[in-house]
Amino acid sequence: MTTFAYKSTPAALSFSASREGREIDLHRRRATLRLRYSNVVGHAWLRSDLHNLANECADAGWDGYDAMPVDAGAIERALEVLDAVSAARNGVVMSVGAEADGQVTIEWHRSASWTLSVSVSGSGELHYSALLGSGKAYGTELFDASVGIPDTLRQLIGRVEAA
């Protein structure tokens, strides 16, 4: 049997006529997803996601309800926060998102009970909430790019990674 396996980029659909080709395509997609979420490439995917958010959430109501447009300053601050943090470790997955008040979120997620979400405002406020097993922590810190991540958040990231 002749196998047709077209080369494809991760974002493109690939078409393979053979079972072996389809298995190769599936393996390639899974490997791409593992790389993306392994943070090996130094937040490149997260930066790309932030730029996509800036475009896709530029109009009010982007969430289907009454969300405010994502704040451009929040995008810039979030990029600075990414510059200040290391790649997540020990299976923790980082992701970014947007909230209805226009702020941008950065999340460190291990499991339903071990997760940290940080909302970044355009003025540099970092509103955070963490589920830490049976514990919790939430509050606000100020971000100064020249100083780096506040100790409170650095410790919370460490706790989620160590869980």
Binding site: L33, G64, S113, S129
Partner: protein, 129 residues
């Protein structure tokens, strides 16, 4: 007197953003932040079929020209467990509409409540999208 939503009843928060759901199909708290209102809009499962529920979600998205991604289902018990309260708020075109009310002041507190809701939620992807 307003009807009390039973603890066992499920409430649907329609999702229109991919980044409100993680790769493992769990829901992020971003989907439940109530701004700019003081409440979070949901649709009750009671009195409506599965197909009818999806129709409501599509109708919400159609108003904003947004594709429906799925819905985050959470029980009224879980809402109360998070320190919030589900209240009936029927609307024209959606008699099953309800609001999750009782949100605390302050963003960190709201994030905490949203995290509790997201933790309890079960995501159902829109089967057609």
């Amino acid at each position: 007197m307003q009807e009390r939503i039973d603890d066992a009843e499920r409430l649907a928060r329609f999702v229109f953003r991919r980044d409100h759901v993680r790769a493992d199909s769990t829901v992020k708290p971003d989907a439940f932040i109530p701004h700019p209102h003081a409440d979070c809009s949901v649709t009750r499962h009671t009195g409506i079929s599965e197909l009818g529920l999806w129709d409501r979600g599509e109708a919400v998205g159609a108003m904003r020209n947004l594709p429906l991604r799925g819905r985050a289902d959470v029980t009224a018990l879980a809402v109360r467990g998070a320190g919030l309260e589900p209240e009936t708020a029927p609307r024209e075109g959606n008699p099953q509409h309800a609001n999750i009310v009782g949100w605390p002041a302050g963003k960190p507190n709201q994030k905490h409540q949203a995290q509790l809701l997201a933790k309890a939620a079960r995501y159902a992807a829109w089967p057609v999208g």
